[in-house]
C-alpha cells in the first residue's frame, strides 16, 4: 500500500462492502433453516413412496400441500447447494479460468435442476398426462 499513490478508499471500492458482503452468508443460513423442516418432510415423503405404485406416488405429490412443499424443497436445496459449492471452489480452485468456469457451470446446473424439478412437480400437480411412454 505504501508504494501506491491510491488512497485506501480507492483500493477498497468495488471489492464488496458491508452493505452487500453479508448477503451470501445470510442466504446460506436462511436456506439452511428452511431445509431443516423441508429436509425432514422430504425424508417422510420418500418413506411414504416406498409402498406406493406409480399412480399412488403421483397422487401423493399432486396433493397441493405436498406440491408446494416439494417446490420449496427443490428450490431451497439447489440454492443452498450452489452457495455451498461456491465456497468450496473459492477455497480450493486457484486457477482463475477454471474457477470462473466451475462457478458458472454450477450456477447453470443448479438453476436448470431447480427449473426442471419445478416443471415436473407442476405437471404432476395439475394431473397432466405422462410426457413419455
Amino acid at each position: 500500500m505504501s508504494d501506491s499513490l491510491r488512497t485506501p478508499m480507492k483500493v477498497a471500492q468495488g471489492l464488496g462492502s458491508a452493505r452487500s458482503g453479508a448477503h451470501h452468508f445470510m442466504v446460506q443460513r436462511i436456506t439452511a433453516v428452511a431445509l431443516i423442516g423441508l429436509g425432514l418432510w422430504f425424508v417422510w415423503i420418500a418413506l411414504e413412496m416406498l409402498h406406493l405404485d406409480y399412480a399412488g406416488a403421483r397422487a401423493l405429490i399432486a396433493r397441493p400441500l405436498n406440491a408446494v412443499l416439494m417446490i420449496s424443497f427443490v428450490i431451497a436445496s439447489f440454492w443452498h447447494a450452489q452457495l455451498g459449492l461456491q465456497v468450496v471452489i473459492e477455497d480450493y480452485v486457484h486457477t482463475r479460468w477454471l474457477e470462473l468456469a466451475s462457478q458458472i457451470a454450477i450456477k447453470f446446473i443448479c438453476f436448470l435442476g431447480a427449473a426442471a424439478s419445478v416443471l415436473a412437480i407442476i405437471r404432476i400437480a395439475l394431473a397432466s398426462g405422462p410426457l413419455g411412454s
Binding site: L40, Y54, S117
Partner: protein, 131 residues
Amino acid sequence: MPATARPLSPHLSVYRWQIQMMTSIVHRGTGIFLAFGTILVCVGLLALAWSENAFAALRAFCASWIGMLLLLGWTWSLAFHLLNGIRHLLQDVGLGYAPATFVRNGWIVTIGSFVLTALVWACVFAQRGGT
C-alpha cells in the same frame, strides 16, 4: 500458489487429532455429496412426470445394491449435514463455544447422525417387510 515454500497454516501434520477437525471436513464432504443427491431428486421427479416405465426403471436402480449403497450414503450425509448444520446455526448466534461444550456437541452430531440413519432405514425395512 506461494512464490516461496514458506510454512502455511493449517499445520495439519503437527496437530493432535480433534473431533472438530473431522466434523468440519465431513460437513463439506457430505455437502458436496448431497449436492449430487439433489440431482437424483430432480431425476426422480422427472421420471414421475415422464412415465410409469421411467419411474419403474428408477425404482429398479434404487433397489439394486449400488442404488441402496448410494441411498444409504445420502441418508447418512443428510443426517450428518442436518445435525451439524443445526450446530453451526446455534454457533452463529453465539452458543456452544466453551471448549467442553464444543467437543461434546461434535460427538452428539456424529453419534446422532448414525442413530438417525438407523431410524430411517429401520422404517425402510419395516415397510418392506409389511407389504
